[in-house]
């Protein structure tokens, strides 16, 4: 499962190290993180990690699998 998560604000490089399993890039006022999510418990774990770092999730969506 590949997911894309959009977070409010630009995360510093330091802060993105909290999500070593995801790649990221910044767009104006947002940070986009994306990558492979193993299973549901990984998914929920990610949500908790975002929340515990005070990050506001704007969008969370599953990406179509590459052919």
């Amino acid at each position: 499962m590949r997911y894309e998560i959009r977070v409010d604000g630009q995360m510093s490089d330091e802060l993105t190290t909290a999500f070593p399993e995801l790649d990221s890039f910044v767009v104006p006022r947002q940070t986009v993180l994306y990558g492979q999510v193993k299973d549901d418990s990984h998914l929920y774990g990610l949500l908790v990690r975002f929340q515990s770092l005070g990050l506001r999730i704007l969008e969370f969506r599953r990406l179509p699998e590459p052919e």
């Binding site: 977070v7 510093s12 802060l15 929920y44 005070g54």
Partner: protein, 904 residues
Amino acid sequence: MGVMSHSVKEGHGDPSETAVTPDGDPVLAARLTVPTVPGTFVRRERLVEQLTEGARSPLTLVNGPAGAGKTLLVADWIRAREPGEVAWLTVEPEDCAPGVFWTYVLHAFGHHGIALPGNIGSPARPGEVDHSLLARLAAWLNGRDSRVVLVLDEFDRVAGCAEVAEGLQFVLRHAGEGLRLVIVSRTEPLLPLHRYRAAGELVDIRADDLAFGAEETAALVDRHGLPLSADGARVLTERTGGWAAGLRLCTLAAQRAGDPESFLKEFEPGHSTVADFLLGEVLRVHPAETQDLLLRTSILEETHPDLANALTGRDDAEPILEELQRANAFVEPIGHSWYRLHPLFAEILRVHLGVRHPGLAPELHRTAARWLIRAGLLDEALPHAADAGDWELAAAEFIDQLAIGRLLTGLAAERLDGLFARMAPEASGPAPDLVRAARELAHHDVDRGVAYLRRAEENLPGGDGGDAAAVRLSCAVLRVLAARVAGSADMAETAARAVAQAERALPADRLERCPELTALTLTDLGSAQLWAGRFDAARATLSDAVRTAQGPSTAFPRHEALSRLALIDFLYGHPGRAESHARGAIAEAEHSGLPVSDGTGMARLVLAAVAIDRDDLAAARDHLDQAAATTTAARDPIVAVEQAILRSRLLCARGDSGAALLALDELAEQRLVSAEPSPWVSERIAMATAAAQLADGDPRAAVKVFEERPGHSCPEGLVAEAWARVAAGESERALRILDGLPGPGNRGPVLEVWGLLTRAQAVDTLGDSSAAESLLLKALTAARPHHLRRPFLEAGPWVRQLLRDRPALAREHAWLTGTLSRRPVDGRSREEREEYASPRPEPLSAREGDVLERLAQLMSTEEIAADLHLSVNTVKTHLKSIYRKLAATRRGEAVRRARELGLL
């Protein structure tokens, strides 16, 4: 170091507060204390009003993201409005185990001066809590004049635990006006919130409510000595989204800025995430030492100046922490020189630590573990040793502090098991191997457990020092357990001697802190002795086990020991003693909240056996069903065998001897788990088979069972053979066998009655009817106090004939004659049931009481189920049990009986 240990002791508050939970954890008073509200806190009346409103409904929910100011809001409300009795608990992730959660809740009540009555009990197992315990708690809360406000802070840490939520829901529903629940959480709890909302019983304070308005922002900034124009406040509020943590960080940064007013006005998080950016800003303005301390202590939940010094390698922690606290930045004091880092900031700091000092975290964890161990805080130290990957340290300390028994029993078992499950395979030495052995034995994998145990023994340290003694003691305790599972009393006795020897090398106060070690050793030893048929030794050992200190860590071994004592009493023919030990075992389990499925089931089996002797077959079946609900039969061969034997006896009593024989055949083919056979257990199977053959009308086959296995390992077997011989017409042989019975002092009424009856029948067949009659009289007298009907039912027609011929005798023994005159077994009239039940009705459980109460209100089964939030089937089970206990067959009758007995 002396200073350090002293201050740590202080850290846990006064002695009453240092009470150790069943978990073995010293309860950090901080978890139970209402947090202090800093002077810069801005009280917002609109929220305080909402909370006060909430205290009028059962449930208040304070839901918002990290750093929204939830905790301080509730703490300030408590200080400001004093809403009556308050119990505060800051939830931890390990509270996900319901047993642990409720232990802390009960502790919170106690900590806040709300004295719970002793009969509520406390959970003994981490994973589950018995429903009856929660029912007792709810009933008690409901019955009080005043209400308790229970605050559960950081509830999101157990948000995923359905069982915790269910328990809370149950207690909240049944505590009525007596309980007000305030849940502080980042996520919604798993309670049926829609139901509370629909009923107007929920006050919801959410992120939008918690967000600061512009005026509130102005007040907050002003409180920090930084005046701000209305316009500036509006802009700042907008940019932080009114988020408390953002505002706080922003204000802190402004305080350090050259021109605070313009900093605040022009504050522009720009495109960064607020906390990330601000934390960087705020951190930057602190001196390098402070930054370093914050980064390094971010691996801890709570810190102490000495511990912080250990992590920084400097000695300036005290002034730094005091300064940070004064500046209201990051850390809050939690009393007795301990501090807690704001969880949100700690989380971000940990990320920074990883970037600035890659690879340092494990080192810090190791240092923290060592410091906490020296401070005597093993439970706090173990997770850090694990995070450092230093398993040798974790295991060595665990063994050295005699904690091995806590892997086998008590509330910490699951948590410790989970912790050590991560242990690296490379960790070597006796301590890691002992921990592995204990885990395998706890999971009933004896072969692997013993393999680890053997490897540990090969590497035992020499010398008589305390360390070596602790390793030897742990080893011996596990050996006793392994011997029990292998069914070897000799090995168990040898290991128990090794336990005693190792104990002598250890100071008494260290041993006293681990009562579970003694309880486990004695119960395991007694069980091995019982299996081997060393009944007297087993009785003495198990009685010692029962004398160990009562508490959650010893609840399970004590329950087991009592159950086994009950079985020994039964085997010796003492129904009264057997019953009282069995009831003691069940009470121990209920008091400690041991769920039924975790009980041994043996106590129920003994009650079933006694009920069969009394010909109370309905009760017997009920007890058997309850025994079958436990999971022990798979591991405990005695339970497995007794369960099958009693089923066969019940089948025989109901006249289905064919089915009984089939069941026993199956049992004989099963391989029992123990390596060494038990002489008496196999004899019990033989006896049951012989009895079924007799019931089947084939006395020759019954005698053959005994001829195939000469000799007896228990007095009961002797009587059983004599009984079969009489039936087969070998009366003289039977009398000779009976001469081998132990003296009257060593046999209970049941054996006495069977012996007398056998003898009576034998002499009667030999033509001496007057001797037979006098023996029968003796048997009746011995049987009457215990209402032992079964022997007379099986004795054949001549007993009935005699009683018919002697009306005076029949009247004197009315307890028996009603049963005898009826055939078949099931047609007993109600009067007789009542006659039997009236002397001592079995007490109703709390739950059954609930059901009975509603029964009296003429509620239907479905209505009762809905009202109590139970399934219809569960209610039916309770009803059945109520009918049985009250000897009633219908609702009306049950209610009438309950009124007569003063139960309603």
